[in-house]
């Protein structure tokens, strides 16, 4: 009997966590994010970024361009690995390739939006800026350490990177509108959170339904847990319907649009609008509140629909829908399983363990975060709910960032693929630098959270980067003076 109640508790933990992740505020950020990622893949011509990654591009262009390519073009491994190999072997070389590899998993649109929605906007920004600084830093260091072997690379054509491509204006506006939809759904400003109109739906029994849900999935608000609201239950139902319609309408979209396709899209729009409403069930019925958020989402969706029919070609529309659906299919099931598992595990971990290990912003705590990140492999985006769990168990935000930086960059799987392309020595050197820099990122961010002034941190960071740049410059000069002989040896 004891074991049974224990199992029930585990199950409730998993369900509770899952419910919290499917709640309105997460839906409003995650669903648009999937569509943005799809639009980026389908509507931005790759050539518009890759043309800055050719062999002859100067460093101050190729490194930022590599980071941009990482955040815009590479949401899935289909693009990451070939683009990495291409930049390394035929394009700008090892440095930008490493920058790209570092930046892509940590700062792509899905990862950033999800981090911002679940944990907090501050951490999402820290992830973005520190990834940018350190991605370029590690790229420069790697390029310097392996300077000689990099020169030996085939000096073949630049043709792969010479493509010209701009984005059509209609497609660009479409993409920006999707971003606007995301912001309307997630921004916490009073213009959006205020209620402008309100009415009561006379459905009896909603309060009993709500009580039933709370009993089914009990929660503890003091631990930062969220229960299933009636609105949440409706949204989960809608999600299942969307899944069904998408499966029928988007899976075979290359044979043409059918009724299911339109139904899936209509349902997505409807779900977003319901998620943006405020709902309070009570004995007399269901209070519906029209918030500014609702009107923002409504406006964005209306404009998107208009653009879809007026400005996008059928091919663009089809590619966009297919890519978005592909991301959902690839990431969402694993995310659901992962989130459930995190909820189960959370019941088992004692907060004291986490607090003792990484409750404060120490070097040891940050290292623990990084090491956990390196040796654990989680599917895309699952690192975020895991981080949330650690946070609620008392982990300091510094070590938390260290973990978030290290986990997606380094997994055994990616190390193996990378070492197949650039060799084992380079791959492990890369791992070492990422581990070091992630620890550093955690320390810096942690001390900011602890109250060190922004000025001091910028000063530290600038000093560190300046020292790094000086060393790089010095070594660069030395190798250039002495470099003629080893260069020859390398090209032979």
């Amino acid at each position: 009997m004891d074991i049974l109640s224990f199992l029930v508790r585990l199950f409730q933990g998993g369900m509770g966590n899952l419910a919290a992740y499917l709640a309105a505020h997460v839906l409003l950020c995650l669903v648009p994010a999937f569509y943005i990622a799809g639009a980026m893949t389908a509507l931005i011509p790759k050539a518009s970024v890759t043309r800055f990654l050719g062999r002859n591009a100067p460093k101050f262009i190729s490194y930022p361009a590599a980071a941009l390519a990482g955040s815009v073009l590479a949401v899935c491994s289909c693009t990451i690995v070939p683009l990495f190999a291409g930049i390394y072997k035929k394009g700008a070389g090892l440095g930008p390739a490493i920058t790209f590899l570092f930046f892509a998993p940590a700062a792509n649109i899905l990862a950033l939006v999800y981090t911002g929605g679940v944990i907090g906007v501050d951490l999402a920004f820290a992830r973005l800026f520190l990834s940018l600084a350190f991605g370029i830093g590690i790229g420069l260091i790697m390029a310097l350490i392996f300077r000689r072997s990099d020169i030996a690379h085939d000096k073949s054509t630049d043709a792969m990177f010479s493509g010209k491509g701009g984005m059509r204006r209609g497609a660009l506006i479409f993409l920006l509108l999707l971003v606007a939809l995301l912001l309307a759904g997630t921004f916490k400003v009073s213009l959006l959170t205020n209620t402008y109109a309100e009415f009561t739906l006379p459905i009896s029994g909603m309060d009993r339904f709500q009580d039933f849900l709370y009993r089914l999935v009990p929660y503890d608000a003091s631990k930062g847990e969220e229960g299933v609201t009636a609105q949440g239950a409706i949204l989960i139902g809608m999600l299942v319907l969307i899944g069904l319609a998408s499966f029928k309408g988007l899976e075979n979209i290359f044979e043409g649009f059918n009724l299911w396709t339109w139904m899936a899209m209509g349902l997505v729009g409807l779900t977003l609008m319901i998620a943006a409403l405020g709902m309070t069930p009570h004995a007399g019925g269901l209070d519906i509140r029209f918030t500014g958020r609702f009107f923002g989402v409504l406006l964005a969706i209306a404009l998107l629909v208009w653009l879809m029919f007026k400005r996008l070609t059928e091919d663009e529309l089809r590619d966009w829908l297919w890519e978005s659906w592909r991301f959902v299919k690839q990431i969402f099931p694993l995310l659901v399983v992962g989130v459930f598992a995190v909820g189960v595990i959370r019941v088992l971990i004692k907060p004291e363990w986490i607090q003792a290990l990484a409750g404060h912003n120490t070097i040891l705590g940050n290292l623990a975060g990084v090491i956990f990140g390196v040796f654990m492999y989680f599917p895309t985006l699952v690192e975020v709910p895991i981080a949330k769990m650690f946070l609620s168990l008392g982990m300091h935000r510094g070590p938390l960032l260290a973990y978030l930086m290290a986990d997606p960059e380094l997994s055994l799987q990616s190390i193996l693929i990378v070492s197949a392309i650039i060799g084992r020595l380079k791959a492990w050197t890369y791992v070492f630098w990422v581990a070091l820099f992630s620890t550093l990122a955690g320390l810096i961010y942690g001390s900011w959270v602890d109250g060190t002034g922004l000025g001091m941190i910028v000063l530290y960071l600038t000093l560190f980067l300046a020292a790094l740049a000086l060393v790089l410059y010095w070594v660069d000069k030395r190798t250039r003076v002495k470099g003629t002989i080893p260069q020859k040896a390398a090209t032979d």
Binding site: A42, K46, T50, L73, C76, S77, C78, T79, V81, P82, L83, A85, G86, K89, K90, T157, A159, M160, F254, D315, D319, W322, R326, K329, Q330, I417, A420, I421
Partner: protein, 84 residues
């Protein structure tokens, strides 16, 4: 006889390209041999920046996106013209 290679490690897009190419081949009523290239070092022999890639008679015709069936049919017809 055409040799068609699908470059890609088995992500859904690669399968889609293969299915579309097979359909185009059937519609044209030509003979073709399909080869799936999944090894990265082999894929990188072609000037390609992202998978899926489609190669007809050793010529890369498309990479990084899913072409439409009409496009594939045109490429197949061109390749046939070059052979004969």
């Amino acid at each position: 006889m055409l040799v068609i290679k699908i470059l890609g490690t088995g992500c859904p897009n690669c399968k889609k390209v293969e299915a579309l190419a097979r359909q185009a081949v059937t519609n044209l009523g030509v003979e073709a041999e399909f080869i799936k290239v999944t090894d990265y070092s082999e894929i990188m022999q072609y000037p390609i920046l992202s998978t899926p890639g489609l190669v007809i008679n050793e010529k890369l015709v498309c990479a990084g996106r899913i072409p439409s069936q009409a496009e594939i049919t045109t490429w197949l017809a061109n390749a046939l013209m070059e052979v004969t």
